[in-house]
């Protein structure tokens, strides 16, 4: 028994860089997780409502466009509004190193930039899910 780890992978906004998101989706699948891939151009509202319907433990955002500055706060805010703050937000892509402490404090559980090992990401998710 024991629940499967389910992760929603989304690309918010107009950012078309989808390689990283696909790499992560496959890596998590190969680690035995169920990945719901929602593709490009998702709004924060789309992402949060999909995460609720899919009952995922994690939302994974891949952002290389620089738009994370308004997307992170909005997603966190919507999760709170919907009483769904137990869903953890993780992210990757181009996020400047000096901003990372700020985002973590705000509630982004994990941030993984270019070159991150997918093994580390899998381990991190497993540890965070308590599995």
């Amino acid at each position: 028994m024991g629940g499967k780890i389910r992760v929603l992978i989304a690309k918010p906004g107009l950012d078309g860089h989808d390689r990283g998101a696909k790499v992560i989706a496959r890596a998590l699948r190969d680690a035995g997780m169920e990945v719901i891939y929602t593709g490009l151009r998702q709004s924060p509202e789309d992402i949060v409502s999909a995460a609720i319907q899919e009952d995922v433990q994690f939302i994974g955002l891949s952002i290389l466009s620089g738009a994370h500055g308004h997307i992170f706060p909005r997603v966190l805010e919507l999760l709170k509004e919907q009483g769904a703050s137990d869903i953890k937000l993780i992210a990757g892509g181009i996020i400047p190193d000096d901003e990372i402490p700020k985002w973590k404090e705000m509630g982004v559980t994990g941030i993984f930039g270019p070159g991150s090992s997918t093994v580390d990401i899998v381990d991190f998710i497993r540890a965070q899910s308590g599995a």
């Binding site: 028994m1 190969d30 891939y37």
Partner: protein, 299 residues
């Protein structure tokens, strides 16, 4: 955004059902009398035929007619890792915008078969108020049969350009489809495929429901009205007679499947590993033949 509390509760129940968590049983027992109000439309066909795109169109159309629509989109679990990338939702943006509840489902290694589990997933959506549930499954032999077990109306999606595979599949398709849709009619060969399917239907055994063959182009939303009307016609046909018997037969089949499984599990536990081991030793040592050993264990 919609009020998410009922959605969260339903979403959690769906997870319990999928995880075979005992809380699912308790929750379904407590709510059983409130389920059963959903009409299930199965959509099957080869990978890439456009099933998800089509379900998106049909779900939006049905929602506009006043239905509360739910979608279960089933994709296979990787047999190697037990994980899955579920990508149907990618094509269901329209439905998502209309507030349709969409749930991606991995086949996993369900003991009770996809049917039993998926049936309970439908029930969970009914508790959320859904009166119409689309179930998308990849048509690969077994999956087809299972969706028929579950669906009140089965839609089979085909596309031009798959060549001989379609020939080979035709017999099966004709048996399970209440409606045959040729999608990607923007592509060459669609007219011919529709013609072929139609003559195959006409040449087949006459039935009290002859499956219509319709052409659609899901990506442009063309032909969706006619496809929806055909679904409505089939539903009316079913509700005028065969539906009650059909559902009874399906319920019997489901109970039988689950009972079999439970009896099997209980009995295996009672017999236990020890007895199994000593029987195996006796069989190997030629002190007993396997047939007598099995008889002894089973009685």
């Amino acid at each position: 955004m919609l009020d998410s509390q009922p959605q969260r509760a339903a979403a959690r129940l769906l997870s319990w059902i999928e995880d075979e968590d005992p809380r699912a049983v308790a929750a379904l027992q407590a709510t059983w009398s409130r389920t059963g109000n959903g009409y299930v439309i199965g959509v099957t066909g080869p990978p890439g035929a456009g099933k998800s795109t089509l379900v998106d169109c049909l779900a939006v159309h049905a929602a506009a007619q006043g239905h509360t629509v739910g979608v279960l989109a089933v994709d296979p679990t990787s047999p190697f890792s037990g994980g899955a990338v579920l990508g149907d939702r990618l094509r269901m943006n329209g439905a998502q915008q209309q507030g349709v509840f969409i749930r991606s489902v991995a086949t996993r290694g369900h003991l009770g078969g996809l049917t039993a589990t998926t049936r309970y997933l439908v029930n969970a959506l009914e508790l959320l108020g859904c009166d119409l549930v689309f179930v998308e499954t990849v048509g690969a032999g077994q999956g087809d049969v299972e969706v028929v077990q579950l669906a009140d109306t089965t839609v089979v999606v085909e596309v031009p350009g798959l060549g001989d595979e379609v020939q080979a599949q035709k017999a099966g398709i004709l048996e399970i489809g209440d409606l045959l849709l040729v999608n990607k009619s923007d592509r060459p060969g669609a007219d011919r495929l529709a013609q072929e399917l139609l003559s195959a239907v006409e040449l087949g055994e006459p039935r009290d429901w002859q499956p219509p063959v319709l052409q659609v182009t899901a990506i442009e939303g063309t032909g969706i009205d006619a496809a929806w009307d055909a679904i409505v016609d089939h539903r009316a046909h079913m509700e005028a007679g065969p539906l009650a018997d059909d559902r009874l037969a399906r319920q019997m089949h489901e109970l039988e499947q689950q009972l079999q499984q439970q009896l099997f599990r209980d009995r295996m536990v009672t017999i236990g590993d020890k007895a199994l081991r000593s029987a195996a030793e006796r069989v190997l040592a030629r002190r007993s033949d396997p047939f007598s050993a099995i008889n002894r264990l089973a009685n």
